[in-house]
Each structure stands twice: as C-alpha cells, then as structure tokens.
C-alpha cells in the first residue's frame, strides 16, 4: 500500500505536468516525421541488403566433409551473381580484411570438432546478420539430422530428399518490403532518445524533494526503506512507460512505423532502457544538489549518447571513434537489437542488451541504495 502511494504520487505529479508531457510525447513524434521524411531515400539506400556485394571467405580445419560441403551448397543457393565464397589460408589476414571491409564475413569450419566459427563485419551489419542467421539455421538442421541418424538412419532419406532447397533463413529477411525505412529507423531511435530525456524526471524529482525537505519528511513517516525505493522505481518506470507508449502507439498508427510482427520484443528492449535510465536518474539524483548542474550534465550526456547511437543520422563509415563510441550508447544497443530482431529475426544483440542494461541497472540501483543507507537513518529503522 505504501509502495503504491509513493508510485501513485509520482505518476499523478508527472502526468499533471502538461508541458513536460507534451514535450516528451510531441517532440519525438515531430522529429520522427521530419527526419523520417528528410532521410527517407538515404536510409533506404544504406540499409537495403544487396546480396550481390557479399564476399565471404572460409577455411576448413581437417578433411573437408559434410559440414563444409553443406555450407558450400547453402552459399550456392544463398549468394547471387557477383558474390564470392572462396577458401582462404591465413586466418589473421582474413580478419584484417574484415576490419577493412574487403570481405563481408569469414567462416572457420572445423570438421574434426564439428564447429563453425563465424566472423562478421559489423559495418555491414544487416547483411552479415542474415548470413549468421543462415549459418545458425544450417547448424540446427545439421544437428537435427545428426541426432536422427544416430537413432534411425533410414529416416534421413525422406527428410533430405524432401527439402533439397534448404530453407536456411526466413523469407522475411530478404523481402525488400520488410527493410527499415527512414520512418522505421527514426521511430525506434526517437522513442529511445526520449526515454533518455525521461531520466531527467527521477533526477529532477529526487533533487527538488531533497531541497524542499520532502525526502526528510517522508523519512520521518513509518514507511520502510524497501517500500520507498520500490515505490519510486515503480512510479518512475510507469511514467516513462506511459510517455514512451504514447509515442510508440502514435508512431505505429500515424506513420506506420514498423515495430515488428512480435512487438513484445522491441517493447521489452524499450522497457529495459526505461529501467536503466530510471536507475541512472535516481543515482544521479543522490549525487547532485542543484537541478541546474544536473540538467547541464544530463544534456551533455544525452547529446553524446544520441550522436553515437545514431539518433540524428545513421552512423555509417564515420571512422573508428564512432565505431567504438556506439558501444557506449544505449540508443545504439536498443536500435541494433530491435532492428536485428525485426528484420533478420536475430535475437543475439537483444540478449546482450538485456544483460548489459540489466547489469548496469542493478549496479546503479545498488549504489543509490548504499547512498540512501549512508544518508538516512530510517533505512536502518
């Protein structure tokens, strides 16, 4: 009950702040519309997959056998004219070629241990993700056939002959109509960017509550520290979710932004972002004493995160700083995991995002609790 009171108070106050609500909902929608229209051709060209341009090298450890032959067959079907799939000797040389984008991917096949190691070039992320998905599909099929062969070798004949074409990847990944438009791209990154701005709500409220004596007053009541903390997290996460939910819903209905066939996954990524930004806002709220200083630092943080996350323009070929910097941007993690999930059914980035965001949220919340324990006696009460 006390937890809900704290959450309810935060939600009521935030939703009544009409100006902030308008800015947090209308601004991303305006930006999605403007940037989506302005960069429509550019984003479309950059992100569409041109399979003709894929150049893949591979090496085989041990005697070439079922795996290497199977993959070669798959490549024959997958790659169209102009693409290459050639054997290479020197692994180091191939990795260097990957760095310089001379090749799209490098596949290391070990026939002795039945393993496939896939090295991809992140600069051509979508193409290499499709290849990765195809290889995963191949590996799954190979394992299935292997297991069946152990039990009933005769059954294999039917399976193999029935599916000669090898449907390695879902068609969704190759169909041009499913490629992200600029509107789709900005729909995702703007929603993420304004979740970032949303972290200023807990930051601002924590600081003003401290300076206005509200924190102390609440600490004199009979509320448990765990109830207080849980209520705050629940309240701030709900507020940010409502705002972001409105943006996502309108962007879907009004602009047709593609949130995928399974929108639960993109929404979970956005929720993970909301949680990590809430934890950061609450943590910084414990450190800062003035709203002005906190706002200045926050704007700088958001600007840098937005730039490296590609919130204003997609970061392609902007050099090594952008290449490294993007990993420090929560927007990039959100965008790459949602895009990979929607357009190539690839969940690997999403899992990494959940792990990173989850770990950092726990860390930030943990530090906040430690600071609260040191500051307020009632934590021990």
């Amino acid at each position: 009950m006390k937890t809900l009171s704290i959450a309810k108070k935060i939600i009521f106050r935030s939703l009544r702040d009409v100006n902030t609500m308008l800015i947090m909902c209308a601004m991303p929608l305006v930006l999605i519309f403007v940037l989506g229209l302005a960069f429509d051709t550019q984003i479309g060209t950059d992100t569409r997959i041109d399979l003709d341009e894929m150049h893949i090298t591979y090496s085989v450890v041990g005697e070439p056998g079922q795996i290497s032959e199977g993959i070669e067959g798959m490549m024959d079907e997958l790659l169209t004219e102009g693409s290459t799939y050639v054997e290479a000797e020197d692994k180091e040389e191939q990795i260097e070629k990957l760095r310089t984008t001379e090749i799209t991917a490098y596949v290391e096949i070990d026939e002795n241990t039945s393993t496939i190691v896939y090295y991809k070039n992140n600069k051509v992320n979508t193409s290499s993700s499709i290849l990765e998905t195809a290889l995963r599909s191949f590996a799954a099929r190979y394992n299935t056939i292997y297991e069946i062969a152990k039990v009933n070798p005769m059954a294999l004949q039917g399976i193999v002959s029935d599916d000669v074409s090898g449907n390695y990847i879902e068609e969704i990944g190759l169909d041009e109509k499913y490629q992200p438009s600029a509107m789709d791209y900005y729909g995702v990154v703007m929603a993420a960017l304004f979740v970032l701005y949303g972290f200023m709500t807990p930051l601002d409220e924590e600081i003003t509550d401290k300076s206005a004596g509200m924190t102390a007053r609440i600490a004199t009541t009979a509320i448990k520290p765990t109830e207080l903390f849980t209520g705050k997290v629940l309240g701030y996460v709900t507020v940010s979710s409502i705002r972001t939910g409105i943006v996502i819903l309108i962007s879907r209905i009004a602009y047709g932004v593609n949130w995928g066939d399974k929108p639960i996954y993109p929404l979970l990524v956005i929720l993970a972002l909301i949680v990590i930004m809430t934890s950061l806002g609450m943590l910084l709220g414990e450190f800062f004493k003035s709203v002005g200083a906190a706002a200045a630092a926050s704007h700088m943080f958001i600007a840098v995160t937005a730039f490296f996350g590609g919130a204003y323009m997609a970061l392609e070929d902007l050099g090594p700083i952008a290449e490294v910097g993007k990993y420090f941007s929560v927007i990039w993690w959100v965008n790459s995991s949602i895009t990979a999930q929607i357009y190539s059914n690839d969940y690997s980035n999403m899992i990494k995002t959940f792990i990173i965001f989850g770990s950092l949220s726990i860390l930030f919340f943990g530090i906040s609790v430690l600071i609260m324990r040191r500051r307020r006696v009632n934590i021990y009460g």
């Binding site: 009950m1 006390k2 009171s5 704290i6 108070k9 009521f12 106050r13 009544r16 702040d17 206005a212 004596g213 509200m214 102390a216 007053r217 609440i218 600490a219 004199t220 009541t221 009979a222 509320i223 448990k224 307020r376 006696v377 009632n378 021990y380 009460g381």
Partner: protein
C-alpha cells in the same frame, strides 16, 4: 502522568561542531513541551534525532517506553512531524497531500479518506481540499503542513517552528490548533525561538543553548530562577543602542537588552534605580514615550541564564 519521551545524556556532533551536548530531559504524556533557544542552539538536531532523521552519537532515547535505536519504525507510527519548512507538494491537491502522508503511516481505504478530511477540517482547509497548494497563502500552506502530520492521529506531535514567516492571524490559528490537539490527547513538542508563543501555549519549557539544556520547568518555575531581578522596559522615539554602554554603568543595572526603540533593563530586585535611568535619558536627549515595570519574561530568563538574547 508517565513519561512519553525520555532523553538521557544525548550527544550529537557534526565534524568538529557539537550540536547537542549531553541533553537529558523527560516529556510527560499530554503536555505541550516548548523547546526554546536561539538559532543553532541544538533544538532541530534534538528533534531530528527524536523523529529518526539523525543518528545520535551517544545517549539513550526512549519514546513510549521503547528504545529509539531498536524500535524506530514502531515508534514512528505514533509520531507526527511538522517540519520547519513547508514540505507539501504544490502540484497535488490539499486532500491528496494529506492522504499521501497519512497513507505512509498505514492508513488506507475509507479510514484514510475520512481521517484526511478530518485533518483538513481541523486546520480549517475543508473548502480548499480540492485546490492545489501553489495557490495558497503562506498561512494556509503552514496549516496544510500541520494537517499532513496529524491525519493518522499520532500520540506525539513534533512541531519544529511551525509559525515561521506567517501573518498574525494564521499564527493565532495555529497556536489555537496546537492547544486543541493537546486537549484531544496528543503530547506536543514545540520548538521555537518566539518566546511569546512558548509563554502562550506551553505547559513546560526547556531552554537550550549551545547544545545544552540550561533550564527546564513550567513558566513560573523558570521565572523563579531569576526572582532576584526585575525588568524595566523603556520605549523611546529614537534608537538607544549607542547609549547602552553608558547606561550600564548606573548602579543596580545587571543587564541591558535593546531592540530598535525598545530597551529592556534588568536590575537587582532591591535596587531602586528608576530615577537614575530617567535622568540618564534626559541628559542624553533620549525622549521617553513609555516606561513599564515589566514582568520577568522568558527573554529575561534566557538573558540571565546565557548572557545573550534569544535572537542573537
């Protein structure tokens, strides 16, 4: 009546500053205990320890017979705190503010709504219950500040300078409310540096200075501490600070306290120096508007015990 608060040898320091220096006092059930002292005397630190905002360095504090260090949360349920600054949410309605704080003491449902409205009625804000405090006057905000602390019907109400910066009408309303709360059964600890408030409402008074409790008792008991003295209050048309040192040389005067055009002169009870004082004023062209033989005020008591004014 039994003790509701027992403080023994309480100590609290902040780095090198000793804020509370061995205070011991008992507060009895159903009394209004005034904690009087100048700014920085240690009143708020004592109060903050009592309501669980600060940890004591040394000492023993018991509330309702329970040890503060061990049963803090249990004790908090029966305490209402009216903080010195107005701690209400400007963008929540008056009713919502009271309901919010009352809910943190465990009230819910119908009981929460009823008791919140009772608290608003008590402070005279029923008609304003659906309005935002940002549109309230300073006095109304102070009253709402009190309502937020009393809705859960606490046994002990701690009021930390609840009348700072408000108009006389609102002040009177608050002082009446304090007396009414007390008559309804609540024990009240009231800190202030306004001695007239303490004189008006408190059944017992503790005087704190430099972190020490220098005296405590009823108003009469405190007056008796300085019964060997009397006070002469002179009101003039001009400021008389410049003549203070010279005037102090008159035989029989023990202390002088001047505040703009008013000067309070403390003399020995036996000494009859009124003639010398009026002569001094005549000689120094100090026009006397009025002259009164004052009762011994708390100000005089404080001055006598500490050698300085409450407002120093």
């Amino acid at each position: 009546m039994s003790n509701i608060v027992e403080i023994k040898n309480l100590e609290k320091s902040f780095k090198n500053v000793t804020a509370v220096d061995g205070i011991s006092l008992n507060i009895k059930e159903k009394e209004i205990f005034g904690l009087l002292g100048p700014n920085g005397a240690g009143k708020s630190t004592t109060i903050n320890i009592l309501c669980g905002l600060l940890r004591m360095d040394k000492g023993d504090v018991k509330c309702f017979g329970k040890e503060l260090n061990k049963k803090l949360r249990e004790i908090k349920k029966d305490i209402g705190v009216v903080p010195q600054n107005i701690a209400v949410y400007e963008d929540l309605k008056a009713r919502e503010n009271v309901e919010f704080f009352a809910s943190l003491y465990g009230l819910k449902g119908k009981e929460l709504k009823e008791k919140s409205m009772e608290a608003l009625e008590f402070v005279g804000l029923t008609e304003k219950s659906e309005e935002m405090p940002k549109n309230f006057s300073g006095g109304m905000k102070r009253r709402l500040n009190i309502a937020c602390a009393i809705a859960h019907k606490p046994k002990l109400i701690i009021m930390d300078e609840p009348t700072v910066g408000i108009d006389p009408q609102s002040r009177n309303h608050i002082l009446e409310s304090v007396k009414k709360l007390n008559s309804m059964g609540s024990t009240i600890i009231y800190t202030t540096h306004y001695m007239e408030e303490v004189e008006a409402i408190c059944t017992r008074i503790g005087i704190i200075d430099h972190g020490k409790l220098i005296a405590s008792g009823t108003y009469e008991e405190l007056q008796n501490l300085v019964s060997d003295r009397k006070t002469i209050v002179i009101e003039s048309d001009i400021g008389i600070d410049a003549n203070e040192a010279e005037m102090k040389k008159i035989k029989g005067i023990t202390k002088i306290f001047s505040d703009e055009n008013v000067i309070s002169i403390e003399t020995n009870k036996e000494s009859d120096c009124i003639g010398d004082i009026t002569a001094f004023c005549r000689e120094n062209d100090i026009p006397i508007r009025s002259i009164n033989m004052g009762n011994i005020s708390l100000e005089t008591v404080f001055l006598s015990l500490t050698g300085r004014s409450l407002r120093d």
